[in-house]
Symmetry: C2
Subunit: 421 residues, 2 copies
């Protein structure tokens, strides 16, 4: 008997798991994981402590406390421009991951196609596969700042299309979709009768005066849109595991069957913290954004000016930069591979077998570059190929790190690449 | 287009959701939800607060902090008698629900059969259905104190059997399996090559000097056993959402693919709290257990001595009593139904439609009794039929409530039933 299902065996091995593992076991400059280095705002921590002290440590309603749901509804009206019923159209989740996971499981059945703009967060593909659906990628290019073209999306639609995933700002590319493309996608969804899953986790992290457009705010679209959001990135609250899902009642009814069996409810201390984050002062978020912008410029200038063979266009949102490493790979793929098989060998062999095996190196140059940079320069970035078609040849580099560490990482990467020349 | 999948439409509507909803919107004595009324032990709260104050609010490794995994391993050796590798055989989860959910999704494919002793926690059936598997119930009877007979389990095995679920002590019946039945099930699993999922969440809550037997501790069984445990019930920590899963590496590898996409990691504050719970003083748990035992006797004596037409055998574990209401139903089913359709009507109509509709009343006498007791006596219990075959005709009554509230509930239920006579 195979202990796990064939479907599960076929899924890509742990990626976040591998990143977190390397971060835990190796001393390095971590530009890998999407983890704000900031402290959670003080008023949020204080609210969490007050909640614990008051004995608020029991289950909440499965949809979350009514107070928090009302605060989410108010935030959504204010920032995203659409109204939501707190009783029947919002569910608080333990991070945004259970929201994305449960939403896809509730709506995607065997054979249903899900259009996934690529490069994008690798969980989408895996979750669609777990649900029995078929991921259909639409590749965006660096030339278009990683925003997919509407025509290409239209071409990907078939009678089996059940959903498109919209994630703007986009992890890993930092792409921000303008109003035209969002409206265009909404029209396609209406014409061809499919759903939109809009992952808006990076909504607050946009630069250059841009803003984010929520599909659910477009007239008639609420009924076919699942909106996912949370506070992990905007408020440096990743460890709280707090997010939410907004959808029409019919989808909530399906989702809640999964949610009650896979979560019961989000952690109550985190719910109290989230209420404070949504109703308290805005300054901490604004201060972080100014600092992220400063780091964004540092990193872009460093990569384009100081590191040979790497280049980047500056992202418009998130705290990720999708760095072009094609020239590096053309010139030094074999050198890096050789390094990994000699000096880097002990590091590669230290990685858990269910997360990595050496055969993976033959599949992706980006992965070779990622592992080379870890073992030769102690800088953690992420292989672009993990993010689907269009990602090979790139590295995702996070600037959710201190200014000083980003400076250090630039110098180390420059050194590590000069060493190959 | 149907927005949710057919599979999801067929699933039973929200049950925990309905309980939590009623608990939130109605002032009543809540003997419904499995929620300890105790405060979380002080040293646990203090550890959570210290963790928040120290800025420990970021992601942990996806398997949980190494410190906590080591404490879990130590607890397991001490209490459960088997050894576990903290690096590759344990994953910390946000409550036990994501553990049960992900474990079944990772191992059960289309057509696989899962033996579920019944009555038991309703999530198992739904999760097996979500995974595409087939639940096969083995009914236990009150006469055997709700422990299933080994012969009946053996009869339920087919070549498609992939797993049996063991939950001892059992929610909702309080049954505790003795060594013979656990060993017998282990032999069957070996002979017929299937897995055991052992949900040990109520392990600490056993009375009359009994103890719990972990299947994974039996020689050769670790390789085919998934052990689920947590602190929600023993340490009154439901709101923390903290549990763990122990399994052989092959299953961990499959499970972690689901876990990283559906959770990323358990909340970090809760992980710090759990570490304190596992390594700190044991007295709070023992004190709670003594008090639960006192309440257990109060409730059993009250039901058997003071309330007409209800009876119970005293449970050996958990804080649930599975109360026989068959006599009540034989004599007064129609009276209760009539009450619900007149005086109780407004209450029924206040329930969210995706959780309840009036047609459900025709399917289960237990549900009629549950709703009658809510609307006529303001006491919340749970319909036995929700827990699968063998549950119809019973009510699950929790004694995780104050002594005074249990006294009050006994008086109110007695009054409500006398009213029908």
């Amino acid at each position: 008997m195979g202990k796990i299902t064939q479907k599960m065996e076929k899924l890509s091995p742990g990626r976040i798991g591998l990143l977190l593992h390397i971060g835990e076991h190796h001393k390095l400059v971590n530009l890998g994981i999407g983890e704000p280095n900031f402290n959670t705002p003080k008023h949020v921590i204080e609210a969490a402590i007050r909640s614990l002290q008051s004995g608020n440590t029991h289950y909440s309603p499965d949809a979350g406390t009514l107070e928090l749901r009302e605060a989410i509804v108010e935030k959504t009206e204010r920032d995203n421009g659409f109204t939501v019923d707190p009783e029947s159209e919002v569910i608080v989740t333990a991070g945004t991951s259970p929201g994305v996971f449960g939403a896809i499981l509730a709506t995607i059945g065997k054979g249903d196609e899900v259009i996934i703009p690529s490069p994008s967060y690798f969980a989408y593909e895996s979750i669609v596969q777990i649900a029995g659906g078929k991921p259909v990628f639409v590749t965006a290019t660096e030339k278009n700042q990683f925003v997919p073209e509407l025509e290409k999306i239209a071409e990907a639609i078939t009678p089996k299309t059940k959903m498109i995933i919209v994630c703007s700002p986009t992890n890993p590319t930092g792409a921000v979709w303008d109003r035209n493309i969002v409206t265009g996608v909404a029209d396609l969804a209406t014409d061809h009768d499919f759903l939109i899953l809009s992952d808006e986790l990076y909504e607050q992290l946009v630069y250059d005066g841009l803003r984010v457009h929520s599909p659910a705010a477009i007239s008639g679209m609420f009924e076919r849109t699942i909106t996912i959001n949370g506070l992990s990135k905007s408020h440096a609250m990743t460890g709280f595991r707090l997010g939410w899902l907004i959808a029409p009642n019919e989808i909530i009814a399906g989702f809640s069957k999964i949610h009650q069996h896979s979560s019961i409810c989000a952690p109550t201390t985190s719910q109290a913290a989230a209420l404070a984050a949504l109703t308290g002062p805005d300054e901490p978020v604004k201060t972080m954004l100014v600092e992220y912008d400063r780091r964004r410029k540092l990193l872009a200038n460093g990569i384009n000016g100081k590191i040979p063979l790497l280049s980047t266009t500056s992202p418009k949102g998130t705290f990720f930069m999708f760095v072009n490493a094609r020239e590096l790979l053309v010139k030094h793929h074999d050198d890096m591979m050789k390094f990994l098989k000699t000096k880097g060998r002990a590091f590669l062999e230290s990685l858990p077998k269910h997360m990595f095996n050496i055969g993976h190196l033959n599949r992706s140059g980006s992965l070779v570059a990622m592992l080379y940079l870890i073992s030769a320069t102690k800088v953690l970035t992420v292989s672009g190929d993990w993010f689907g078609p269009g990602g090979e040849g790139f590295l995702r580099v996070s600037f959710a790190q201190t200014y000083e560490n980003i400076e250090k990482a630039i110098d180390k990467m420059a050194e590590g690449i000069e060493y190959l020349q």
